[in-house]
């Protein structure tokens, strides 16, 4: 059979986001796959070297469109570590609640992407609708729907508005009520099983060897989660489970996402229960006269896609000297994707990619 080169994406129904894969195929078997990022490269890390510590804060969230919140968090954490800023206790808890809401929103978005790609349009619409409810919460809390610009060095930008905790609970209950519907129509649907099991399968050893984190690793049975390994915000003060599965294929990865979503909802309830009172912001120095001491910091959080890190260097000036984001989509989209696509069929490319939870803006930055 003749060997062909095939361009998959960036304009493709099975492709979410500005990303493409160049496939070398024979028939519908893939001989070689090459990830092609760069469509969204905006040079954020370089731009940040030109902006002051505070001016960077509205910028970082824009790196990842799907979940800007964890980006804000790593940035704030890195600056706090370098400048030795203390964060009030309540701010830690609000950050955790906020980040878990972000995880719920992001997973719903991921669910939309995955089910939409598989042709489960109904489920996709539900997920999108429910994500919108989460965005409403963000709007109420922060004033923005997509880019919240909320976690900043020193704490959070505003306290909860009146009655906000009840609104979170109400919204999450209304989403929770629909979980059986999701299960019946999607997760327990034989069509989903047929389409997803054994797709993009990797073993635990491979996942570790290739630098997998997040769902990719957890779906192979390793409960690796930064919230447990190096707890930040208020994650060490509440108890929660890390869902895992053994199989390491697309089916189990999507199931891990589902379980995590539900675990996050429970986690938010627990956090809300124990939310302490107090102030939420320790004032940072005047933005026009703020020099962060010399030094470097590597901080990391568990974003909804896995280990998200930030390596930051300050040379004692009013702007960062070097900023480098370590995003989970890097190993997933550039290393693992290329490896697992070898030998797969063309029909499974989108399936594999989205189940690896690859997000293009994270890679491009």
């Amino acid at each position: 059979m003749k060997e062909l080169e095939l361009y998959f994406g960036p304009q493709h129904l099975g492709m979410v986001g500005n990303f493409s894969i160049t496939l070398k195929v024979e028939g519908d078997r893939i001989l070689e796959a090459t990830s092609n990022p760069g469509y969204l490269h905006r040079g954020f890390e370089k731009l940040m070297e030109y902006r002051t510590w505070i001016q960077n804060f509205p910028l970082v969230c824009r790196i990842n469109v799907v979940e800007p919140d964890h980006m804000e968090m790593v940035y704030a954490m890195a600056v706090e570590k370098l400048a030795n800023i203390e964060v009030p206790e309540r701010a830690h808890w609000i950050r955790s609640i906020y980040l878990e809401l972000a995880r719920v929103g992001s997973h719903l978005f991921g669910l939309w992407a995955y089910s939409n790609m598989l042709g489960f349009d109904t489920v996709a619409q539900w997920a999108m609708y429910h994500r919108d409810l989460i965005l409403d919460l963000f709007e109420e809390l922060t004033g923005g729907r997509v880019y919240h610009i909320y976690i900043w060095p020193g704490g959070v930008r505003r306290d909860f508005p009146d009655g906000f905790a009840d609104k979170i609970v109400k919204t999450l209950h209304s989403i929770g009520k629909c979980v059986p519907d999701y299960d019946d129509t999607f997760f327990n649907n034989p069509l989903f099983y047929e389409r997803a099991h054994d797709i993009g399968k990797i073993t635990q050893e491979e996942a570790k060897e290739w630098g997998g984190v997040g769902q990719v690793l957890r779906a192979t049975g390793v409960p690796y989660d930064i919230r447990k390994v190096e707890p930040y915000a208020a994650y060490d003060k509440v108890d929660f489970k890390i869902p895992t599965r053994k199989e390491g294929d697309a089916y189990s990865r999507v199931w891990v996402i589902r379980d995590e979503l539900i675990e996050s909802v429970y986690l938010i309830f627990k956090l809300l229960d124990k939310l302490p009172l107090g102030k939420v912001y320790n004032r940072v120095p005047n933005p026009f006269k703020w020099k962060v001491p010399k030094g470097e910091a590597y901080v990391r959080v568990e974003s909804s896609r896995g280990e998200l890190g930030l390596y930051m260097v300050s040379n004692g000036e009013d702007k960062p000297y070097r900023v480098h984001f370590r995003t989970p989509s890097y190993p997933h989209g550039l290393t693992i994707l290329e490896k697992v696509l070898k030998g797969a069929s063309i029909a499974d490319v989108g399936n594999t990619m989205i189940s690896l939870y690859v997000t293009a803006p994270e890679i491009d930055r």
Binding site: G38, K46, E230, R326, T335
Partner: protein, 169 residues
Amino acid sequence: MNKKLAEELELIFKDIEVSTPEDTMMEVRAHKEQVLTILGFLKDKGYNHLALISCVDWIEKAEFELVYILTPYLQNYEAYKEIGDIHLKIRIPRENPETGTVIPIFANAEPYEREIHELFGIKFAGHPRLTHLLLERDYAIPPFRKDFDTREYVKDVFDSIPPIKGEKK
């Protein structure tokens, strides 16, 4: 923190500096020839996850600093507290910068090295494909180097585009 490991490292590898700037972070400064063996050694010692390879352009010292950040796959804070992270750092001159690849030890180093090659112009000997990753063309100065001025570049490139006819300036 892993005191024993620090002593062991200094014993095995000549001419390296080991320090612990944070409770859960060990910093190892080495020479570029040692990177592969040190990483191999550390991987066997349980530092089995390469989180990031970063590069800093210390233009005043005419050096690039490559930072290999190892964050082991652990499952809880108790275990993490014991062994922590390792930042392995090497410095290479800015003139014709070159160092060896670490793909044989960590497969996920591939895109990181590609990115650094593209954005800083550092060559990684033994890397299978040092092609473009994020950018679409070469630049006279690799764009993440400190002497590449983004604002100058924007001015040079975009100010030279003639305005659309009838558009208000």
